[in-house]
Structures are given as structure tokens and as C-alpha cells.
């Protein structure tokens, strides 16, 4: 307790000051923005502000003039009469004792304190001068303030800071020592600690520009981009999954890598903005500019079956407006989604005018639970690049030839049709095992055909016949009812066959058997055509030994709510490559999931439509026109099969009476099945399309933005409801800010230009404030997402404005700006505090000392990896999956996704590359306030909890790092005391004090004794993590040193920047 005594004094002082602070003397000269606006905003604007729909008595207190303004005379009442307290109705109401009269009214649960009333009183007395909200006025460079200690000032930042300190009667802290500075700089510029060698070199470097050289060195490293990019990725809400409902993988990492590269090539912030908001609309956009537009593809999306498309699209646009507004403007526009903003001059019309920029996207309302929700850019590997570029032209050429062949084929087909017999103009009924239309429309009995004879079948339960079938009413399989076809299609894997049907499934369909002769009571035995998730597939299986030939479509192809024709053909080869899958007559790429079959696949169960023998029910799905052939249909037949009904009807009509569609059907049949040159061209096109799809499938993709043709527009959504459309609006920036130039493009490019326009009062301020926050822990405006009237005022407005102008006028040069910040005397201060500073500047708002705060989650993990020597500096690529406790993903989503931990290098990559599942982010990162990335975050929480201690003490990542630090140092040094000194140098980047050495050595000695007595314990501890401990080192000693390393990694000093 003794050690805390000096602070009891500080405590009492702080307490006194805090209490007196609550009743601080009212300043002599009242300023509206500084003194009055916060009171009005909090207590009055809700009813007397910008929202006209919610404005009581029509009176505004946010504006002086205009018919509703505070000065206006309305029915002989003036709310605020400058200089005349008695003539100001607002004052009378504020001070009224009558509960029906008093403002704010009791039902608002808001009251004005005596101090607040005093401020309002003096303001009215002094003339009630209004000011525009500070952040809506363009920033201006104020003249540098006069300071006493001129020698301290290294650059203009320091003049502004020092003026504030001198006014408060405080001294800046002395400059931090060189080791501290080197560590702080490395962490701030690269997110990683420096090496002891780098620190030593800096300590010894007596060149006058030693510090500037160090800054330049760190800034030149590619880790600079990783570190700066990480902050931006919070704002961009970057993640690796869709975010809502099933939360599957979505491929966006090229965007993440683009962000990192953009910082590394020091892309000016205005260009950085334009490319992300509208890179696709630039002339001849580069691949990188398209990838950049991923910014607004990082919003969370859903594919939940029952959701309503318009609702989803409204939600996506809402997120994009909200995010744009937080990130660039520091305005909480989200409030204006349902009504005019109550505190800031953002109308509901403004909100939807900005939404209009985002509303004509080609992006679907449901993400399909796939990695490549359109629109995407394909990024083929180097090996594929050439072909991927060439194939579209090849396809187009072959298509042209096919088109050119058509007139000739048409002539020939007319001749052929003149003499053709009806059975020649349909798929040959040779070897028809099952032909079952399922178009009865009622009842439980259905009639089909097998080998030329009619056969009747019955369903196993009541069948619901629904309108909207492919052919009349179609049966839906519900509550387990299905069709049992008896002993048909019972063959083995040496039998060529084809099986197909029209199918239609409901949203959220999980899968089931379409047609199956499959015994599933033990292992699978038989064959089937099925849906699994959103893919079609087929298999032939043998139970003994359990194995199968199995293929499923490579991409998700099942479209709920639509009739689709699916057909599988098989050549009897006993190989999975013998399968071909057709969808609506088109071949599909398949993935083989079982490639060899041993044993017989013949099944001793009936053929069923709508389920296997007992399971895999086609619940809720519909099926019509089931076919099973005991032969492999040709490609032409497969193409014609979905059109067969039309063909038959067309042929039956006299040639001169055929409609154009009927003529086309017949010609297609001829071209697909009988015309040699066309068949050859079709084959070529198919091969080329398959090649293209195959390249797309194996390429990396990244979500991009793309507009539909036509001018963007949106409707105001009344109360934010997707189905309550109000007036139509065209794209525009917020009306209370600088105007959107009339000639600006009416698309996102116009928005981007508006955001970075020189007369935008907010973008530069908001951006420099975020950068400041990255280094100093707190922004000059603490509420970095809200520069509106509910946000906090800047702690140093002149400094903020000076920085904003400086940044913009430097050409939005990010590296130059950070250089300015870190070379200031303000930044270079020691973090040491004093009781006086704790009293006068408890939050360090005045910057009376250097920044010291707990590092972000990613930095803490990277720090441990770096000092242990494990860290891989490999950059980019798909999200990595380092250590994670089991069953983290399983409890969320639909429980289907499993976390498959990486091995080797990927366990030790930088955390910015961690795979980010939004419904379940890495728990060791979440513990340290890493956001879920479901929504935009421009300011992280920074809290301290016991869970954090558990992570850095016991997470295998940290335990392994500690062991590897201990191991490499032990090999280097041998003697425990030397090892401890060396490890501490690595972690703390400074020599230990004798007192510290004593504590650490005692820990080592005690614990080594305990491990020596428990060799199994030592062994168990040393086996944490994938890497192996060196068996040649004495286990108890290594284990004890690893505990010491763990202790070092858990020091407050280590965890703080």
C-alpha cells in the first residue's frame, strides 16, 4: 500500500477538481458552439431541431433566422430575443415552475442544471449570437499561437499543443529516451517491435537526423501498409464471410491486399477514396481499381431463404450510406434513414439521395452463400492468364460460325422435316426404363411408361398438387410422401444409363434424392440423382466395401423457386469421369467426390422418386417428367430433352402454321442432333466454355461494384421501411454541406469527387483525426465517428484545422502527414505522468505527456510472434487460420462450418491476415476489443478484462511463442541469468534493473524446481503448439524459462505501446 500513497493525494485533488468541474465557472464570454450548442443539442433539438416531422410548435432553436427560427416572431412570441432575457419566451419556459409550461418538459426525462441555465442566460444577455456548427465551416489555418518555451517547438503541431499546456499551467514531459522512442516508432509505423539491434543502432547513432532516418526506415517497410491498412479494414468492415445467417466464406481478400499495397505505395488519400468508391467508373479501370471498389462489397449480406429481396437491397444501401458517412464525413447519417436527423442538418431526403448512388448495383439481393457473389473480378493465376484473356474471343468466334451455319442448316432441316416421322423428332424412346410425367394434377395415382408399356404407380401418402408446375399442377413432396416405383432401374456400375427430371425446390432447401434406387439403411448401396445444398449430383455406391463413384456440380446451380431440368448421363465405364451432368440442356462442370468403385452397386430396394430407401427426403420440393434410360444419351439429346414437349407440339402443327418459337424448337433439334457441322461447333463452344468456367473456378475472385445501365435513383423509404416508398430522389451529397456540382457525374464517381472536394469541410478533418487517434490513442475529436452536434468538440480545434488543411494541401500525402506527426516534440514526449498532470490533464487531452495505452489485439499477438522469432513476414493471400479453441464456429451459423486450423507458416503470419468469420471472430482477438467487422468501426473500445489475461497467459499461440523465445535464447546463452537478461532485452528492448532481475530469476528458480519434480508436467507444457521443443535441452529449465518468457509477454509494459 505504501507505494500508492503519493496517489492518494492525487486522488483527493482529482476528486476535488472533478467535483468542482461539474460546477465550473461559466466563461465570461459565451460562445454558441462551445457553450450553448451542446446544451441545446442534448436537451432541446430533439423537438426543436432539424426534423420537421417532429418539431413541436414548429419552433427551431438550431437556427436564429427564418420563419421558424429562434428570433422569429410567431404569434407575438419570440423564443430568443438577443440581449433581452425578459422578452425571450425560451427563457421564461426554461425557468417556469409550471409543469405544463416548463422546458424541457418532464416527459422528456431531461432537465437543465443550474450551470446550464446560467450559460443560456448569459448567452441571451450577450446578444444570443449563433454560429454554424463548427465542423460545417471549412477548416482554416489559424496563425501559430505565441508560446513561451519556443525552444520546445519542433513543428507547428507543438506550438498549438504547447499553447494549450501553458494556458493550463503545465509543462510538456521531457523527451522519451531513445529506446522508448525506437519502440514507439516501430510499433506506430509497422505495428511490430523493433529488434534489439535496431534499437542499439539508434541509441548509438549521433547523427543529427538519426531520428528522421529511423522514421524513414520504418515507413519504407511493407509492414507499414499492413499496419495502416488494419485500421482502415475496421472502417471498411472487411471480413471473410457473408455475415448474416449461414455466414459462409466470401472471397474478398484481394481487396484487403489492395488496401495494404495502397498504403505502401503511398496512394494519396483522395485517390484512395475515388478508387474505392468508384474505381469501376474511372476511364479504362485497371484491375487494381476494380478490386479497390470492394470497399462497398464488404457490407454484410444474407441468403436466408425466406428473406425479401427488396428488404435486403434496402439494408445493403443503408449500410453503404451509413459507412460512407461515418468514414469520410464523421456524421451519423444513419439517424436520417427513418426521419430527418434530429441534431444535425441531414434530412431523410439527403440520406436516400446518397443511397441512390448505391441502388443500381448488379449485386443480387441474396448472396447465395457462395464465395463469389456477383459482381466479381476473376484473378487467374499466371499460368491461366493468357488463356483466360483469349477464350472469350474464341467462344465469340465459334458462336459467330455457328450462327452463320444456321441458315444453311435451316434449309437442310426443312427438307428433312418434310419427310421425317414424328418419333424421329423427339428423344429416341429406345431403352426407356421410366418415363413418368407427374402431371395428373390431383390424387395419389400416377401413370407412366416403362419399356413401351403403361405402368401405374401410387404415392406413399397424400400429395399436394400445386399450381405453377412445369406441366399443369405439379406434385410437392411433403411430410415424407413420395413415389415407390418398385423393381425398376436396378443395375450395376457397368450399365450405361441416364436419369433426369424437372425440379423446383423451396428456399432454404437442404437437399434430397430426386430419383434413387438406393438402400441407405446401412452404408449406401445403389444409385441416385440428388440435390445437396445448392448443388446437383449423382452417385453409384456399393455398401461393401463402402465406396462410390460420386460427382456434384462444381458451382451452386440450384435456383430455389425456379423449374430446372437436370439430367445425368453415365457411360458404364466404372469411373467417375463417365458421368456428365446437364442443367437445362447445358453441361455442367462437376467435382468428383468418389472416383473408384469396388463391389456390386446393385440395390435390393425399390426405385423411388422423392427419397432414398429411408432418408434424404425431397421435402418441400417438386418433381415432374422423370426419365430413366438404360443408355447414355448423346449431348444433342441432352440438349433437346428439356424442350421435348415443345418439339412434339411444333411438329404436329402444319409447317406454314408454326409459330416462330415452334420453328426455332425444330431447328434447334436439327442443329443439336443431326447437323454435323453445327454439332462440331457446339462441341467446341462447350469445350471453350468449360475451359473458361474451369479457370474461373480455380481463380481467386474479389467482389467489386458494378452499376446497371441507366441513371441511378432511389425512393425515400418512409420510416426506413423497404416497402413504404416515398418520393423518388436522384443522387446527391448532403445538402447542408458543400454543393454537389451540377455537372458532376450522376453516379458514384460524382459522390467520390464530392467527398474529396477541396471545399468539403469534413473529409480532411475526419481523416487526420483518425490518424491522430491511431498514434495518440484518442482523436482530437474523441468521437471520431461523430463530428455532428452530438459528438464531442475538438480538444484543440485550431490544431485539428491546421492539420486538416496541411494534409489536403500536401496532396493528401499520408506518409508525409505521419512523418509530421511523429517528428513533433509532442509525439516524442515521455509517457511519464505526474500527480499534477493526473489532476489537470487526466485523459491526456492536452498532451502533457507521450502516448501510452494498451495495444490493439493484433499488435499484441504480432508482438509475441515477433519477439519469439516465429513471425512470418509473408504478405497477402487467403485468410490464415492460426490456433483457435475447438468448436468456436460450430455454435453459430447452422453449425455446419468447421474451423480447420492451418499448419506450418500460416500459424505464425501477421494477424491482419487472420481469417475473419463475422459471426464468430477469433476469440483471442475479440477479447482485446477487435470488432466483429459486421459494421463499420472507426474507433475501437479499449477495455481491460480478466479474459485478456487468460488469453496472453494460456492461449497456445502465446504459450508457444514464450517457449520459442526461451528455447532460442537458451541455446544462445546457456546460463539462466544470461538467458533472462537476453529475453528481456528482446521483449522490453532495454536492460533490466537489478530489482527486476531478482524477481524474474526467483520465478525461474522456483518453477524450475517444481518442473524438475514433475517431468511429465514439464513435457506437457513444452508440447503446447505445433512446433517441437528441442529435446536436447533440459526440460525443467526450458519450461521454467518459458514461464519467465510468458511473464515478460504479460507485463503491463509489454502490452502497452
Amino acid at each position: 500500500m505504501k507505494s500508492t500513497l503519493p496517489f492518494i493525494g492525487a486522488l483527493a485533488l482529482a476528486l476535488a477538481s472533478a467535483v468542482s468541474g461539474a460546477e465550473a465557472p461559466v466563461p465570461a464570454k459565451i460562445e454558441f458552439n462551445r457553450d450553448v450548442r451542446p446544451i441545446f443539442s442534448d436537451k432541446c433539438f430533439f423537438c426543436h431541431g432539424t426534423d420537421k416531422s417532429h418539431r413541436d410548435s414548429g419552433r427551431r432553436l438550431d437556427l436564429p433566422d427564418g420563419p421558424d427560427g429562434a428570433y422569429a416572431n410567431k404569434d407575438d412570441v419570440i423564443a430568443i430575443k438577443p440581449g433581452d432575457l425578459a422578452g425571450s419566451d425560451a427563457w421564461a419556459r426554461i425557468t417556469s415552475d409550471d409543469k405544463d409550461d416548463v422546458m424541457p418538459p418532464p416527459k422528456s426525462h431531461k432537465t437543465l442544471s443550474a450551470a446550464e441555465k446560467n450559460i443560456i442566460q448569459r448567452w441571451i444577455e450577450q446578444g444570443a449570437k449563433y454560429q454554424k456548427h463548427w465542423s460545417f465551416e471549412p477548416p482554416q489555418r489559424a496563425p501559430l499561437p505565441e508560446v513561451k518555451d519556443k525552444a520546445w517547438v519542433r513543428n507547428p503541431i507543438d506550438a498549438f499543443v504547447l499553447a494549450g499546456l501553458e494556458k493550463a499551467g503545465l509543462q510538456p514531459a521531457p523527451e522519451a529516451d531513445r529506446r522508448t522512442l525506437a519502440r514507439r516508432l516501430a510499433l506506430d509505423l509497422t505495428g511490430l517491435p523493433p529488434t534489439p539491434e535496431e534499437v542499439e543502432a539508434f541509441v548509438k547513432d549521433d547523427a543529427p537526423d538519426a531520428y528522421e532516418k529511423l522514421v524513414a526506415m520504418f515507413m519504407a517497410r511493407p509492414q507499414w501498409g499492413e499496419h495502416r491498412g488494419r485500421y482502415w479494414l475496421d472502417a471498411a468492415r472487411y471480413g471473410d464471410t457473408h455475415g448474416i445467417h449461414i455466414d459462409n466464406y466470401v472471397e474478398m481478400w484481394p481487396y484487403r491486399d489492395w488496401v495494404i499495397a495502397a498504403f505502401n505505395r503511398n496512394l494519396p488519400f483522395d485517390q484512395f477514396t475515388v478508387e474505392q468508391i468508384a474505381g469501376d467508373l474511372l476511364p479504362n479501370p485497371t484491375r487494381d481499381q476494380l478490386i479497390a471498389t470492394g470497399f462497398h462489397r464488404c457490407n454484410i449480406t444474407t441468403s436466408e431463404g425466406g428473406t425479401i429481396d427488396e428488404e435486403n437491397l434496402a439494408m445493403y444501401a443503408n449500410d453503404r450510406v451509413t459507412t460512407t458517412s461515418w468514414v469520410w464525413l464523421g456524421l451519423t447519417a444513419n439517424c436520417a434513414a427513418c426521419h430527418d436527423h434530429k441534431f444535425d442538418p441531414i434530412t431523410q431526403k439527403d440520406f436516400y439521395s446518397m443511397a441512390a448512388y448505391f441502388r443500381n448495383t448488379t449485386q443480387p439481393a441474396k448472396d447465395g452463400n457462395v464465395r463469389d457473389t456477383k459482381p466479381v473480378i476473376y484473378l487467374p493465376s499466371a499460368a491461366d492468364e493468357k488463356r483466360f484473356a483469349a477464350v472469350p474471343a474464341d467462344i465469340a468466334a465459334a458462336r459467330t460460325q455457328l450462327g452463320e451455319r444456321r441458315p444453311e442448316a435451316g434449309k437442310e432441316s426443312a427438307q428433312w422435316l418434310a419427310s421425317a416421322k414424328p418419333e424421329q423428332v423427339e428423344i429416341s424412346s429406345a431403352a426407356v426404363e421410366v418415363k413418368l410425367p407427374l402431371d395428373e394434377g390431383a390424387g395419389v395415382e400416377v401413370r407412366g411408361e416403362s419399356n413401351g408399356s403403361d405402368v401405374d404407380f401410387k404415392s406413399t401418402g397424400p400429395i399436394e398438387w400445386r399450381d405453377g408446375g412445369k406441366f399443369g399442377k405439379a406434385p410437392a413432396f411433403t411430410n415424407g410422401a413420395h413415389f415407390d416405383l418398385g423393381d425398376l432401374a436396378g443395375f450395376d456400375a457397368d450399365q450405361p444409363f441416364s436419369a433426369g427430371a424437372w425440379v423446383n425446390v423451396p428456399p432454404d432447401f437442404k437437399g434430397g434424392a430426386i430419383v434413387a434406387r438406393m438402400d441407405d439403411r446401412a452404408a449406401l448401396q445403389g444409385w441416385e440423382l440428388f440435390i445437396e445444398g445448392n448443388k446437383f449430383g449423382a452417385q453409384i455406391a456399393a455398401a461393401k466395401p463402402a465406396n462410390a463413384l460420386r460427382v456434384v456440380s462444381k458451382s451452386p446451380t440450384v435456383r430455389p423457386g425456379k423449374w430446372q431440368h437436370v439430367l445425368v448421363t453415365y457411360d458404364g465405364s466404372g469411373s467417375s469421369s463417365g458421368f456428365r451432368l446437364f442443367l437445362d440442356g447445358r453441361t455442367q462442370l462437376v467435382v468428383a467426390q468418389g472416383t473408384a468403385l469396388k463391389g456390386s452397386a446393385r440395390a435390393d430396394v425399390p426405385l423411388r422418386i422423392g427419397q432414398r430407401e429411408t432418408k434424404s427426403k425431397f421435402e418441400g420440393g417438386q418433381v415432374q417428367d422423370v426419365r430413366v434410360y438404360l443408355r447414355e444419351l448423346s449431348t444433342g439429346e441432352a440438349r433437346s430433352l428439356p424442350d421435348e414437349h415443345n418439339l412434339r407440339a411444333a411438329f404436329a402443327v402444319a409447317p406454314e402454321k408454326r409459330t416462330p418459337a415452334q420453328k426455332a424448337s425444330l431447328l434447334n433439334f436439327y442443329v443439336d442432333n443431326l447437323d454435323g457441322p453445327s454439332i462440331e461447333l457446339a462441341f467446341r463452344i462447350e469445350a471453350l466454355e468449360n475451359e473458361k468456367t474451369a479457370i474461373e473456378e480455380r481463380s481467386t475472385v474479389s467482389g467489386i461494384q458494378q452499376d446497371k445501365p441507366g441513371a441511378p435513383m432511389a425512393n425515400i423509404l418512409m420510416r426506413g421501411a423497404y416497402d413504404k416508398l416515398g418520393d423518388e430522389v436522384t443522387p446527391a451529397g448532403f445538402s447542408a454541406l458543400h454543393p454537389t456540382p451540377p455537372d458532376a457525374p450522376k453516379n458514384r464517381l460524382g459522390l467520390a469527387d464530392w467527398l474529396v472536394a477541396p471545399n468539403n469541410p469534413l473529409t480532411a478533418r475526419v481523416t487526420v483525426n483518425r490518424y491522430w487517434q491511431e498514434l495518440f490513442g484518442t482523436g482530437i475529436v474523441r468521437t471520431s465517428e461523430d463530428f455532428g452536434s452530438q459528438g464531442e468538440l475538438p480538444s484543440n480545434p485550431e490544431l485539428l484545422d491546421w492539420l486538416a488543411v496541411e494534409f489536403r494541401e500536401s496532396g493528401w500525402n499520408v506518409k508525409k502527414f505521419f512523418t509530421l506527426l511523429v517528428t513533433s516534440a509532442t509525439y516524442r514526449q515521455a509517457a511519464t505522468s505526474t500527480p499534477e498532470k493526473q489532476e489537470k490533464d487526466p485523459q491526456n487531452h492536452l498532451l502533457s505527456r507521450g502516448p501510452r495505452f494498451r495495444m490493439d489485439a493484433e499488435m499484441i499477438r504480432d508482438y509475441a510472434l515477433a519477439v519469439s522469432g516465429e513471425l512470418s513476414l509473408k504478405m497477402g493471400g487467403p485468410g490464415t487460420k492460426p490456433y483457435q479453441p475447438s468448436n468456436i464456429w460450430e455454435v453459430v451459423g447452422l453449425g455446419g462450418a468447421r474451423y480447420t486450423q492451418d499448419t506450418g507458416e500460416n500459424l505464425y503470419r501477421r494477424t491482419v491476415y487472420d481469417f475473419w468469420k463475422r459471426e464468430s471472430p477469433p476469440p483471442n482477438m475479440e477479447a482485446f476489443n477487435a470488432p466483429s467487422r459486421e459494421t463499420c468501426t472507426v474507433r475501437r473500445e479499449r477495455t481491460d478484462t480478466p479474459i485478456q489475461a487468460l488469453v496472453t497467459l494460456d492461449d497456445p499461440q502465446f504459450v508457444e511463442a514464450a517457449r520459442r523465445l526461451a528455447q532460442s535464447t537458451l541455446k544462445e546463452c546457456g546460463d539462466p541469468s544470461a538467458v533472462i537478461a537476453k529475453m528481456a532485452e528482446r521483449v522490453l528492448l532495454r536492460p533490466l534493473s537489478p530489482a527486476e532481475t531478482t524477481v524474474l530469476t526467483r520465478t525461474e528458480t522456483d518453477i524450475e524446481k517444481q518442473f524438475a519434480a514433475d517431468p511429465d508436467g514439464a513435457k506437457a507444457f513444452l508440447s503446447v503448439g505445433d512446433s517441437k521443443a528441442d529435446p536436447n535441452l533440459p526440460a525443467p529449465r526450458l519450461a521454467a524459462l518459458a514461464i519467465v518468457a510468458n511473464q515478460l509477454l504479460n507485463l503491463d509494459e509489454t502490452l502497452n505501446k
Binding site: 507505494s3 496517489f7 492518494i8 492525487a10 476528486l15 472533478a18 461539474a22 448474416i244 436466408e304 431463404g305 425466406g306 439517424c335 399436394e464 399450381d467 405453377g468 411433403t478 411430410n479 423451396p506 432454404d508 430455389p560 468521437t783 461523430d786 455532428g788 511519464t832 505526474t834 500527480p835 493526473q838 487526466p842 485523459q843 495505452f853 479453441p885 455454435v891 453459430v892 451459423g893 447452422l894 459471426e919 464468430s920 466483429s932 459486421e934 479499449r942 477495455t943 480478466p946 479474459i947 487468460l950 497467459l953 494460456d954 497456445p956 524477481v999 524474474l1000 522456483d1006 518453477i1007 517444481q1010 514439464a1018 503446447v1024 519450461a1039 514461464i1043 511473464q1047 504479460n1050 507485463l1051 503491463d1052
Partner: protein
């Protein structure tokens, strides 16, 4: 007397201080570092600090009836007309179409919007009256629950805004359909703070249903702190491995070694404090000590071998099976006993688009006896009066069948316009039956209770005026109960 202090009244003084400081520093308000902080500042500390950082509100606003909550969420939306909303008239309406006048423009989900007919499916289960209150309920599948209806307040007139799972469950737990808002457990953790020194304030258990025919997605946002400080997020308790992530010492590390390590750490951190003077350093020391206490107390918490034969008689043998609903409920009781303020249990597979007949018995078997056991057990331990137990899903289901209909089997689609929930203990009015729906259990005809009204009522039982319980974020004073007026349902309060 400090309005917060009664929460800590039963804790040792040292713990009380630690907690106060923890809460104080939770917002990074590093004003003061001295140990005697709590007692020095007395009643108005949260205001006295006066920084713009969001303050802990002065709570509760009035004497609470409930001190803690156990919330049993049935994921997927249980069918109200098959459990608590008895509709005998429907038997005559079997397979008849739902009248348009009843549907009255209700939008449909994508699941049934293509359906040609909306044939009425009466419940296949046996209903009878239970308890003194005479509630008509499914006594066939809920015989145990039927024994304690006089302890429960039933709401048959719940309604919500969302018609699909993700937005509906998000609204039920956070008051809003969109991501990013704090859930109810986080609001209470923020508002009322902790009642113990060794365990989290808000714990989540995801129970495994015995039938998993059609489970629905749940996500971490259901226990997220949203814009509230991160320490108010729910801590997910796991049935396998460490109950709390990272709670176990690394293999081979004994508690003695850990103590040794922490002692050293404390000494070293104290030295750092002496040289730098950053009060946050003391917060960190405290967090490590609290982590150690958590590590020490969790094994005792999860050791069910201490439970008596009586416990398993009450909860059933299923309670021995880690991760089962019975086991989760028993764990919830143990957590509540040890001062955890809010325990949330999720039980899945209530999304009965098909096969109500086949699945409902499994669902009810999972929850029936354990629910009864929980109420009895709380009573026997004298905790029922101040523990609020909540049961319910995120929406109801349609009277018409989704898919084929027989007398014994049918499916039901989502339905937002009415559904049933109940509350027990903690000031809920035993035997109350609140609200009515029409004969089709399709529309509320009396005393509607919106999700926000429900939240307002829960907060009221915990001594909180929902109108005054706000948090400033993103430029707004957010409330759990949203911007539209919400009402405390007096009829549910004893």
C-alpha cells in the same frame, strides 16, 4: 448509500473495491489509481468523474423485484397453437382455407408465398386445463410444465416486426433487426454490473437439441455488446473443453506455478507503475488477479458431482449429459447461485416448417422436465423470488399448413403477428394469462405485447425505467426499447 453498493453488499471489502475499480476503469477513464477509490468517491463517483466518456447510469431506478435472469430462448420459433394458445375451433376447420379476412394482407415468407392454398392445420395434440389459473395447454407433451403454470405469467399476444429468423432473433435479443446493437444481457451487465468477483456477469449456453432435423442459424451478435463497452458481451460457456475459453492453465502448469508467475508479474508491474505513474497499470494488476480467481472458481462451478440425488431426480438423468438442455439449465442454476446476473440458454430445432407431429415431442421432451426442475429448484433454494425465468422464441407459426396436411402431420411457416411466451419468478405474476388471439391464432385481439413492451417489462422487474436507461453512441441516446413508445405490461407483474 451508494445506489450501486447493495449489489456488492455481500462481498468482502477487497472484492468490492476491485469491482468498483474494474467498472470505473472499464471505460478507460484513467483518472485515479488508488486502492481506496470506491469508498472515497462514495455515491456519485460515476458523475463526479465528469468526463465525456459514457457514464454508468445510476441504477436501479427503483427497488428491483428480480436480481438476475435466466432466459430460455427456443430458436426457430415454437408453434404457439401446439403449446399454449389453445384453438379448439380449428378442429372443425381442418383443411379449410384460411379466410383472407383473417390473413388480411399479412406478407408471406419465400417459403410459402408459392403455395396455392393455406389449409388450416389444427393441433394434433391433447390440450387440457392446468393449475389454479386453468390455463389450456398441451398437457400431452408438457406434463411437467403443467404442474407449475401457477408460477408463470403467460403472454399469448406477443408480436414482432420480423418474419425471418436472423432479423427476428436479433430483434428479440437486441430490440432491433439490424446488427450492431447490444443484446439484453449486455444492457443489464452495463446497467446493473456484476454480483460476483469470480465469474462473468453475462453467460451464454448453447444447448444441443436431441433432434436436429432443421436447426436455425444463431450468431455471436446475439451475445454481443454492440456499441456498449466490450466487457459487457456475453461469455459463451462451452460444454466440451474449457467451459470458458482459455480458463484452464496450460498443460503442466500447476496452480502453484501460476500463482508464482502472477506474484512476480505483480511485483514487476508495480515497479513499472512507480516509474511511469500510469494508473491503468493497477487496473491490469487487478485483472490478472481476477483472472486467477476465475480460474480457481470455475472447476468448482462445473463439477456436477457435488449435486445431490435430489437434483437428478428433479432435472432427470439427461442433466448428466454435457450440453443437453437439462444440463444447461442445471448449469444456469449453478451460475445464478454464484452471482451471474444474466444466463442465456439457446435451444434449437423449433423451426417446424414440416413434421410438427414428429418433432414437437422431441422438442418438448428436451425442455419440459428441466424447466419444471429449474423452477422447483430455485424455489427450494429461496432464489425464485428474485430470479426471473423467461421462455420463448423469436416469432410464432402459422395456423395453416406449410406443405401437405394430414390429421397427424403438418408443417407451419413463420408468423410474426402473434406468439406465446412466459415468465416466472422475479416479480412475474404467477398464473397470469395475458392477451388473446383470434380463433386462428393469427391476430392479436386483446392486449398486444410488442417485443419492446416485453423488454420494457423485463427491465422494470429489474428496477429499471426503460425510458431513462440510455447509452450514447453514434450521436444518439440509444434505448433497448427503441424510439417508438413502449409500455411496461403491468398485467404481468405481481
Amino acid at each position: 448509500m451508494n445506489c450501486n453498493s447493495h449489489l456488492f453488499a455481500n462481498l468482502p471489502a477487497e472484492t468490492r473495491l476491485a469491482l468498483t475499480r474494474r467498472q470505473l476503469f472499464a471505460h478507460g477513464r484513467n483518472v485515479l489509481g488508488a486502492a481506496a477509490l470506491g469508498s472515497l468517491l462514495g455515491g456519485s463517483w460515476s458523475r463526479a468523474l465528469g468526463d465525456a466518456a459514457p457514464d454508468r447510469p445510476a441504477l436501479p431506478h427503483f427497488p428491483p423485484k428480480a436480481k438476475r435472469v435466466i432466459y430460455l430462448h427456443m430458436v426457430g420459433g415454437p408453434s404457439q397453437m401446439d403449446l399454449y394458445d389453445y384453438k379448439p375451433e380449428m378442429v372443425k376447420m381442418y383443411d379449410k382455407d384460411l379466410p383472407d379476412s383473417v390473413r388480411n394482407g399479412q406478407r408471406l415468407t419465400g417459403m410459402t408465398s408459392g403455395q396455392a392454398r393455406f389449409p388450416i392445420a389444427p393441433s394434433k395434440f391433447t390440450f387440457s386445463q392446468a393449475g389454479q389459473c386453468g390455463l389450456w395447454m398441451n398437457t400431452e407433451l408438457l406434463p411437467w410444465t403443467a404442474k407449475c403454470v401457477d408460477d408463470m405469467a403467460f403472454i399469448r399476444s406477443m408480436h414482432t416486426d420480423a418474419i425471418n429468423h436472423e432479423p427476428a432473433i436479433t430483434e428479440m435479443q437486441t430490440g432491433a433487426m439490424v446488427a450492431g446493437r447490444p443484446c439484453i444481457g449486455s444492457w443489464l451487465s452495463y446497467g446493473l454490473g456484476s454480483m460476483n468477483a469470480n465469474l462473468p456477469t453475462f453467460v451464454v449456453l448453447v444447448a444441443k437439441p436431441s433432434n436436429s432435423e432443421q436447426v436455425q442459424a444463431i450468431s455471436g451478435k446475439l451475445w454481443s455488446a454492440g456499441f456498449l463497452p466490450g466487457e459487457h458481451a456475453g461469455v459463451s460457456f462451452r460444454s466440451a473443453g474449457d467451459p470458458i475459453l482459455f480458463i484452464g492453465n496450460s498443460p503442466g502448469v500447476t496452480p502453484g506455478m501460476r500463482r508464482r508467475e502472477l506474484d512476480g508479474l505483480k511485483e514487476l508491474n508495480e515497479m513499472a507503475y512507480q516509474s511511469v505513474g500510469d494508473p491503468e497499470t493497477h487496473t491490469r494488476i487487478q485483472q490478472y488477479e481476477m483472472a486467477f480467481r476465475m480460474q480457481s472458481s470455475v472447476p468448482e462451478l462445473t463439477d456436477l458431482t457435488q449435486e445431490s440425488a435430489r437434483t437428478y431426480e428433479l432435472y432427470g438423468e439427461e442433466a448428466r449429459k454435457p450440453g443437453s438442455f437439462a444440463n444447461s439449465v442445471l448449469m444456469a442454476r449453478r451460475l445464478s447461485e454464484r452471482g451471474v446476473r444474466f444466463v442465456q440458454i439457446y435451444h434449437n430445432n423449433w423451426d417446424h416448417h414440416s413434421n410438427v407431429g414428429g418433432r414437437m415431442p422431441d422438442q418438448c421432451r428436451d425442455v419440459d422436465q428441466p424447466t419444471h426442475a429449474l423452477i422447483q429448484d430455485l424455489k427450494e433454494r429461496g432464489m425464485f423470488e428474485d430470479t426471473l425465468v423467461i421462455w420463448g422464441g423469436e416469432f410464432g407459426r402459422t395456423i395453416y399448413s406449410q406443405g401437405g396436411l394430414t390429421h397427424t402431420n403438418y408443417g407451419r411457416d413463420h408468423h410474426p403477428r402473434c406468439f406465446s411466451m412466459w415468465m416466472a419468478g422475479g416479480g412475474a405474476k404467477g398464473g397470469a394469462i395475458y392477451g388473446e388471439t383470434d380463433d386462428f391464432s393469427y391476430n392479436v385481439v386483446k392486449d398486444p405485447v410488442h417485443v419492446h413492451d416485453f423488454h420494457a417489462t423485463v427491465l422494470n422487474l429489474l428496477g429499471i425505467d426503460h425510458e431513462r436507461f440510455t447509452y450514447k453512441a453514434q450521436g444518439l441516446d440509444y434505448k433497448l426499447t427503441g424510439v417508438e413508445p413502449a409500455t411496461v405490461v403491468k398485467g404481468l407483474i405481481a
